[in-house]
């Protein structure tokens, strides 16, 4: 209901902007037809009109952007609320169950395991949100050190195999020649972990993810994470790196998330003098995410 209302208000303002521009052009053409003899006035008028029209266009674009951002922000708040409250609800449910019912030994251990999983999930969400806040504060300096990228990737892969309970064949790592980069170890680890985590999450039940590192022209190292998941529309390849952005549709409601993961990846890449991008042949063809960072000798 609320979303439909917002769509309507966007449509109204776009129509208003377009309508006003049409009126201006009409008035202008009329004015030129009436006054074509006065040369200087004509030039002056042309310039002024051009200025007014670009002003109106800019204004309309700005307005629509703001409305979109606002909508994404709402969606983000909803997603974070869900991501924070669901694990808490689950932990609480199991605690109350253990408190009020006679539970046999095997079940009790199972419940403990579920609660640990849920607290991990909760912690993951909180860290993601806090990291976004830190990255947003651009004045914060990076905690630079020399990092063995291969080692970081190896650790992330092993941790995520355990978290998602996938076999080494399903989440394979093909290390390239060892490389050293200079960067903030914590941020680089978060970016690598987000990329691999996404690949596994979006793969659904049939996980087939490959992670590889390769040298690019001796200057950069590229981490490529390839999955055989739902794939990405060409038009979405850039947008998915925006803050709060989630691809609309069924996949995003099936896979829970806050819309921060790829934003963090891109920000970390930029802060380290590298870049991050996505490649996909379209829906149904899987996707490859690349994180490219400069090498130090």
């Amino acid at each position: 209901m609320i979303v439909a209302g917002r769509q309507k208000s966007i449509a109204f303002f776009i129509a208003l902007g377009a309508g006003l521009i049409c009126v201006i052009i009409l008035l202008y053409v009329g004015w030129v037809l009436l006054n074509w003899r006065h040369g200087i006035l004509l030039v002056l008028g042309t310039l002024l009109m051009a200025a007014i029209i670009s002003g109106v266009v800019l204004n309309t674009i700005f307005l629509v952007r703001e409305i979109r951002l606002n909508a994404q922000h709402d969606a983000f708040i909803n997603a974070v609320t869900h991501e924070l409250k669901t694990p808490i609800a689950s932990i609480r449910l199991y605690l109350e169950t253990l408190q009020t019912r006679a539970v046999d030994e095997a079940r009790r251990l199972e419940f403990y395991r579920i609660m640990v999983d849920d607290s991990e999930r909760l912690l993951g969400t909180i860290e993601q949100v806090l990291r976004t806040g830190r990255i947003g504060a651009s004045r914060r300096r990076l905690n630079l050190s020399r990092i063995d990228l291969g080692g970081v990737v190896e650790q992330c892969v092993e941790r995520l195999r355990a978290v998602h309970k996938v076999a080494p064949e399903a989440l394979a790592y093909h290390p390239g020649p060892p490389v050293t980069i200079v960067g903030d170890a914590e941020e680089v680890r978060a970016a690598v972990s987000n990329l691999i985590d996404n690949a596994v999450k979006y793969s659904g039940n049939d996980v087939k993810v490959t992670v590889e590192t390769a040298n690019v022209n001796g200057k950069y190292v590229a981490l490529r994470v390839t999955d055989h998941g739902p794939g990405i529309e060409k038009t979405e390849l850039k947008r998915i790196f925006k803050r709060f952005y989630r691809v609309p549709g069924a996949v995003a409601t099936r896979v829970k998330g806050t819309g921060l993961g790829l934003y963090i990846v891109r920000s970390v890449a930029k802060r380290h003098g590298g870049r991050a991008w996505a490649e996909s042949e379209g829906p149904g063809h899987g996707a490859t995410f690349v994180l490219q960072l400069p090498i130090v000798k």
Binding site: M1, I2, N78, T81, H82, K85, T86, P87, I88, A89, S90, R92, L93, Y94, E96, T97, T100, R101, R107, F111, I114, D117, D118, A250, T253, R254
Partner: protein
């Protein structure tokens, strides 16, 4: 044994609920999408006594599931369960036809109490239908006023040939008002008699039901002629439309 359907895509929560409700002696079925839920409540499938419905589901969401269920004439008592506790969301849940709404995280004891409340209400309704002969004062099968008639046995309201399906709670509120027609009933009395609640619950929930009932039975819901507000007290039902 009462049968409960849990519609929840968060596996941990669903399994925790299943364990507890089975421990309470209910027969529990879990599905993780709205589409599967609609499939489970088809008329030819074995009926459920209560449905617990999550809002954020993959595919169609809980509000949509609720609306579709009520539109297809499926009036099983439903408790909506969601992380979104915003008043707008709660109202939207009730407007879609939910009988109760509980935000996450919830207390286990409260959830179980609400489920047994929904089941008890259902039992009472059944009992009151079976005792129609002993209660001549109240309308038990059908009641006609003006050009409208309410069929309590089918939970249907007919207005000039049009048929509106009511939820169980809507029907119960209307039945209570009709039983006391001409007299003013307080919100507190309605809470106690219809919902079976005795604590100081927020009585504005009732106003919501009244708004919905007015939409069905009043020609102009902003100027009600059957379901009158008595300021500061409650409501009064009159069968003959007031000028």
């Amino acid at each position: 044994m009462s049968r409960i359907l849990i519609v929840e895509d968060e596996q941990h929560l669903a399994e925790g609920l299943r364990f507890n409700l089975e421990a309470e002696g209910y027969q529990v079925q879990v599905v993780d999408t709205g589409e599967a839920a609609l499939e489970m409540v088809r008329p030819e499938a074995p009926p459920f006594d209560v449905v617990i419905l999550d809002v954020m589901l993959p595919g169609i969401d809980g509000f949509e599931v609720m609306t579709q269920m009520r539109h297809s004439g499926q009036f099983v008592p439903t408790l909506m369960l969601t992380a979104r506790g915003h008043p707008d969301d709660i109202l939207r849940g009730f407007a879609a036809g939910a009988d109760d709404y509980l935000p996450k995280p919830f207390e286990l004891a409260i959830l179980i109490a609400r489920i047994s409340g929904l089941l008890r209400r259902r039992e009472w309704l059944r009992a009151s239908m079976n005792h129609s002969a002993e209660a001549p004062a109240g309308p038990d099968e059908a009641f006609t006023f003006g050009d409208k008639s309410m069929h309590f046995d089918r939970l249907e309201l007919q207005v000039r040939g049009q048929v509106f399906p009511l939820t169980l709670m809507e029907a119960n509120v209307l039945r209570y008002l009709i039983r006391h027609q001409g007299k003013t009933v307080s919100r507190k009395a309605m809470l106690e008699e219809v919902w079976g609640l005795h604590e100081d619950t927020d009585t504005r929930a009732i106003d919501n039901f009244i708004v919905r009932l007015r939409r069905y039975i009043e020609d102009d819901p902003t100027h009600p002629r059957h379901l009158l507000t008595v300021r500061g007290v409650g409501y009064r039902f009159v069968a003959e439309s007031q000028p």
